[in-house]
Symmetry: D2
Subunit: 187 residues, 4 copies
């Protein structure tokens, strides 16, 4: 019925690349997210390096579920900025309405992938808005980041969960305990 | 900075009205959702009337959390239809990509409001696509309903949960047991 | 085989009463939870009274979904205290193992009932452990509260969400806007 | 303060081993779960083998978040069987009370790890109770499986999600598309 159309076929690399590209276009660097991770985790792992944090953020960003949430959230932010949404969705997103929680819902779909241990970290950074989150949350600033600030907090919380799982695996390995293999820690 | 702008103030009635209006514009009637509820619940409550189902669907639709999900999901469907989304989000939503699960994430934010007992009903109707869901899910049809079919299933599952709670309250009342008051059943 | 058994029939009042009774037995008062709510909300509503906070906590506790989570969590705490769980579940709950997140999962089933706007408040109090949460989280103390501290935080976050919805309804009423009825705010 | 106690240190292998052991003791084989996966996925992947399904179930079971849910759920089933729970939690779990949804909450913490695309499969098998789920759900049977049937359904749904992600990666590789690396698919 739509014979001339090229059959749709998902290209995972396109989705992954678009995710990184749009985070960059919206002014968020991997390093800034890694600094949030450091803030959340340095207390528990004094030897943690920024490099490790960057690596873990990149691993989180390589997950399809995360990419879907990032792209959808940024898209809604952009459309709100352009005034292109139907009313009253336009006003709610544009003003980061406190009774509109779809931004938190998307953020949580990210946190869930790394398990429930990240719930607390997400809420904590989302409330205190340290580092990059303060800038994203600045309502006087032109761009709309209603979704992006929650999403960046969720990525940082997820990377923190990933580190907690990995560090435990390292600790057990150092103790000479029999390894349970790669699958025991989140990829 | 934007001195002439009227200060933003949420009007709940506008959000509620827009929800009903957009469901209607996208071709979904309250009666069709109520029929899904009937399909899910008649086995447990043989005396259940379509009128009761309609009433419970309307109660679900009166919740802000539900309204937010409905408006956001329909908005993304419309934009995908217009080809107005960034690539590859456009292709994923347009084609109801099976690895894109943000539609399920939004649907679940609806189901959650009425508690975990609705999880199963949601999955069941979302898989079998009975009644109105078959029409919404028809890929040959012009309009894009990637979000709407999941959302309608979630509303029906939530209304089913609401009925289960209410029927229990009625049963206890009939047994002459001391009532625990309105708060024990979801409003 | 169990011929003399009285057929099972849920009595909602029993579930509601047991919830209050067990919170009390585990040393948590409604007032303490209300104080957490006050801490979270006084910034937004300077006129908020402790009485209102108490009322909202009680409304949250009247929900079946919440009661189920409270009873299940307290039960697991008690069994861990008694050393009655299978290994290594015993050790994980007894020591509030950081990679064991079922306590957060149960807490989240509470928060979800009042929608996604409570996610942030939950994480915030769960991280900072103010007031009653500090006491519950004290590992030197005899009783095990691995589940209860998260659950109490979740109840406070839910009551905060409930207040946010109610206050908006009051504000609109004061502005003379047409009411959308009781259903628009969480019961 | 408790100086004579051996300091607690989580051993991941113990948690993983206990999970497998307890599934076995409760009468559930990996093969039976794999057959559920086959039932859910053979329509989409005609070449799917039972061996692949077994492998994916094992990968799901290697996740800590999954292990925590399995052990906690089985524990509550066993205690209900023994009549060792506080009333009315005892009666609710023993009778698989329809308004008690903590079993679904635990099941969902499993499904979430593999993303939202598994929500539908979970609800579907949980409603239809095919294969092993029919046996687990048999109320005449002695053992209590209030938690276990939902948990087994969740493991099968998660393994199905894992397969969907993997098959897409294979398809893209076969098309000669540039790989996005291991991270793009769930470990």
């Amino acid at each position: 019925m739509k014979p001339e159309k090229i059959p749709y076929s998902l290209n995972s690399k396109k989705v992954a690349d678009a995710t990184k590209e749009w985070l960059h276009k919206r002014g968020v660097t991997i390093d800034e997210i890694a600094e949030l991770v450091m803030l959340l985790q340095k207390k528990y792992y004094p030897d943690l390096t920024l490099e490790e944090c960057v690596h873990n953020v990149e691993k989180v960003l390589s997950k399809r579920e995360v990419q879907n949430a990032v792209l959808t959230g940024i898209q809604l932010d952009i459309l709100a900025e352009q005034g292109a949404l139907i009313s009253p969705l336009q006003e709610m997103i544009e003003n980061d309405e406190s009774l509109y929680g779809v931004d938190e819902v998307l953020a949580f779909s990210i946190v869930n992938v790394y398990g429930s241990i990240g719930f607390t970290n997400y809420g904590y950074v989302d409330k205190l808005k340290p580092g990059v989150l303060e800038r994203l949350n600045d309502k006087n600033d032109e761009p709309t980041h209603t979704f992006l600030d929650d999403i960046v907090g969720a990525i940082a919380a997820s990377a923190s969960s990933r580190i907690a799982h990995r560090k435990q695996a390292e600790r057990e390995k150092a103790l000479g305990e029999e390894s349970v293999g790669d699958g025991s820690t989140p990829e």
